[in-house]
């Protein structure tokens, strides 16, 4: 039952990305290119998402169990470290090159676009490289 639910909310997320224009890399570049013809649409995507998100997350604050019985797991890490900033910086560089972040990448994969497939494969390699790096760096010396 919760698998059907997670499929439905993944679908909803993807439909949101399509309607908002976020799944179109050219539009994302239009937003990131402040010096060119600037497209402010993404401000509205973030505004709409956060407006609903703020209400959603405030309603969950005093709950400990989710609808399907699992514990509600909010992030417990609060400190700002090198990994956070360096990771975000690298992610932003990749985002700025192609105008694609992970959610839209998966939607583009679903359109069957060749470039979408290649991007997702490269992204998966990047994620696997992180897993490898994490395992090596955590190994006792």
């Amino acid at each position: 039952m919760n698998l059907l639910f997670s499929f439905a909310i993944g679908l909803l997320f993807g439909i949101g990305l399509i309607i908002s224009g976020m799944a179109n890399p050219a539009k994302v570049i239009g937003f990131l290119d402040l010096a060119g013809l600037w497209n402010p649409s993404l401000v509205f995507v973030m505004g709409g998402a956060i407006a609903v998100g703020v209400v959603g997350f405030s309603l969950v604050r005093h709950k400990s169990r989710a609808w399907f019985g699992d514990a509600i797991q909010l992030p417990t890490v609060h400190h700002i470290d090198t990994h956070l900033v360096l990771g975000a910086a690298l992610f932003g560089i990749g985002w700025g090159i192609a105008g694609i972040c992970p959610g839209p990448a998966l939607v583009l994969l679903g359109t069957g676009a060749g470039k979408g497939i290649v991007f997702v494969l490269a992204m998966l390699v990047g994620m696997l490289a992180f897993e490898l790096w994490e395992r090596i760096s955590k190994r006792p010396h």
Partner: protein
């Protein structure tokens, strides 16, 4: 600054954004998890099968199924990827590695984190926005 009024879609973007926010809210209320796409996908790549493999996989399947589902009801909006193949591969590697190292991307930090008023996510969001703006400037105007 010149605004591109032809490509500017405030209402569609606002509505689509609200659906994304709704999905994030349903994810935390229904499953008790953060709707961060890089985290959900990255959790599938752990050497030891992590708990929640099933919901992660079906959530990703839902995302991938979105264009097909959308096109059953309406014409899918045009998408255009301007980056060349080499640039695309480099971008994918950076997005994959960076989002996992930084514990999140546009959805986990940008949508969920900012909605939770997390300072950590605010720092991450400002960082990737800054490097995104700079990189796009270099790509579009200097190279």
């Amino acid at each position: 600054m010149t605004i591109d009024f032809i490509q500017f879609t405030p209402w569609h973007s606002l509505f689509g954004g609200m659906l994304i926010g709704l999905s994030a809210a349903l994810t935390i209320h229904g499953l008790g998890r953060i709707a961060g796409i890089s985290g959900i996908l990255g959790g599938l790549l752990k050497p030891v099968a992590s708990p929640g493999f099933g919901w992660r996989l079906t959530f990703i399947a839902g995302l991938v199924a979105a264009p097909l589902t959308y096109s059953a009801f309406s014409t899918l909006p045009q998408t255009r990827i301007e980056a060349g193949w080499a640039a695309l591969i480099l971008a994918g590697l950076l997005v994959g590695f960076g989002s996992r190292l930084g514990s999140g991307c546009t959805s986990g930090h940008g949508v969920c984190g900012l909605s939770r008023l997390s300072l950590r996510s605010l720092v991450a969001t400002l960082t990737f926005m800054a490097t995104g703006f700079i990189t796009t400037f270099v790509m579009q105007h200097l190279l």
